[in-house]
Amino acid sequence: MLTWLAHILHWSFLDSGSVQTALLVGGSAAVVCAVIGVFTILRGYAFAGHALGDVSSAGGSASFLLGISPLAGFLGIAGIAAVSLEFLGVRRAREQDVATGIVLGAGIGLSALFLYLDTTTTNTTGTAVTVMFGSMFTFPASLRLPAMMTAAAALVMMAILYRPLLLSMVDPELATTRGISTRWVGLLHLLTLAAAVALAALSVGAVLASALVIGPAGAAVRISRRPGVAILLAMLLGLTAVWCGIWMAYESYYWFAGRAWPVSFFVVTIIFLSYLTSVPLQYVRRRRFVRAMPMAAYAGG
């Protein structure tokens, strides 16, 4: 107990370079995912967001084969998947489910092949674990700059898309008369989502990436119906989950007698618990502020 306190009090873990990189990269992933996640949930694209994460694992595993940065691999394949989703008709409600499923199946198939080739042609072991479940403590410091740049680019894109995207979600016809192409706005949203998912895949692993995209945003959307408030809340939840998760994983080495638990486990568990907490909160809020027209908040911006 005393040793734990000592660790908590003098924050020795902040001195480590790899912890700093993990906090920086994981934190930027959480912020970007929160902003994009709220729109993704409201558009009903949670499955597409999840699929982009799983498919991006093909990029992560290919990057080991090609010797390029994993972030580039995740970004490239997630981008291709976003375009294929749009091409197969993800915007039409009737087609959404199947289109997403087909892209997901093909992407996972590719990932299986690349992971197999990784183990047979290169000397790396444990690529499947790194790509699928992430390994935040092994990031090289050189990853900081590209990760921050990707995050900044995605945030700028979302700032530009904020109003047209909201308008085309609330009232597509009005958006069209105002000269907004719902098709382009949809595609740009998917591409930005792909960038966010790539960052999340790098941090918590490809198959767990959607936890950061849909978890905090899903909880935030339940608690507040205003998009701006929901985004701030999702950022807070996401950052808390990622940073607490990193700290707990670091400390778990001392808790469990020299056997650290994976970071992603802590991050995802915190996110899941925060979503469960948002369920009763939603009912409390509903009773206090009854709003007759829930979408009025969105129409007002």
């Binding site: 949670a46 499955f47 087909i102 997901l104 199946g105 992407g107 092949l113 936890a211 995802v268």
Partner: protein
């Protein structure tokens, strides 16, 4: 390729493909692709838990699939269905990564659980596969009509006294059984491809429920056989062949439909809704 040690592989994968084709038909009709993707992955910790506890892997899988079905059903009632499916998936998967990190066979185990080990099936593995498959088939056949009605016309089903909640949990239960059966053989990620692609291709070619169902089973079995053969020759993982062939199958079915419609001015097939309506009404003239 047809050596004695491959016989079990052929039998098990054929049974799995037939069951997946039939259940996939309902998955596509009900648009529950996300649930079909979430359940196998949520079952993933089962194998590791069984290894830690020293029990049969199948019991571990069954335990986690039950947990996943209950969680999914409860959370989907409380809010957005897709968010619930996604969160159940990632949470149980994260538990799986923790359990696997505690066992000593981490990396190879992860790969085979996710992408399957189709070339290593023994005679002892066949019994659970056959038993569960027959259970699922009996379940799906006896529920064929209410399941079809509830999937296509939820409101009509309620008026006939079919509870959406009961159908939903039975459907998820059947999906869970298929998952637990197929996962050790074809892997958590491959079950999904087998469920979605053949059924989606079949439903874009035919709008008659029974015809689409038969077509889905044929596609699924054909895909599985071809994938095993290709995997045997190239030594590449079977998941690669099933995933990419599924996407090819679906896009060619869509193109075929488009060309038939555009060049031969055949009317697009009526939707599954309309024809299943006819089927249901025709079967019960008195009530309709």
């Amino acid at each position: 390729m047809f050596d004695i040690f491959m016989i079990h592989t052929w039998i098990a994968s054929t049974i799995i493909a037939v069951t997946a084709g039939i259940l996939g038909f309902f998955v596509v009709l009900r648009r529950s692709a996300f649930a079909a993707h979430a359940l196998p992955l949520a079952t993933f910790p089962g194998a590791a838990a069984a290894q830690l506890l020293g029990i049969q892997p199948l019991w571990g899988l069954m335990g986690f699939v039950t947990l996943a079905v209950v969680l999914l059903h409860q959370l989907q009632k409380l809010g957005r269905k897709d968010v619930a499916a996604g969160l159940v998936l990632v949470t149980l998967l994260a538990v799986g990564s923790l359990l696997l990190s505690m066992t000593n066979t981490y990396a190879p185990a992860v790969f085979s659980l996710l992408f399957g080990q189709v070339l290593g099936i023994s005679a002892a593995d066949l019994w659970p596969v056959a038993t569960i498959a027959s259970l699922v088939l009996i379940g799906a056949m006896s529920l064929y009509r209410p399941l079809l009605l509830q999937s296509a016309f939820p409101e009509l089903a309620i008026s006939r006294g079919i509870s959406a909640g009961v159908i939903d949990i039975i459907f998820l239960g059947l999906l869970g059984l298929v998952t637990a059966m197929a996962m050790p053989v074809v892997g958590a990620l491959l079950v999904f491809s087998l469920l979605i692609a053949p059924a989606a291709a079949a439903q874009s070619l035919s709008a008659r429920p029974l015809q689409a169902l038969v077509l889905a089973v044929m596609f699924s079995v054909g895909m599985m056989w071809l994938a095993i053969a290709l995997s045997f020759w190239t030594n590449w993982p079977i998941g690669f062949f099933v995933g990419t062939m599924g996407a090819l199958l679906f896009t060619s079915a869509r193109m075929f439909r488009y060309i038939r419609h555009r060049w031969f001015s055949t009317a697009l097939p009526t939707t599954m809704k309309n024809s299943s309506m006819k089927l249901i009404l025709a079967a019960q003239p008195g009530e309709a």
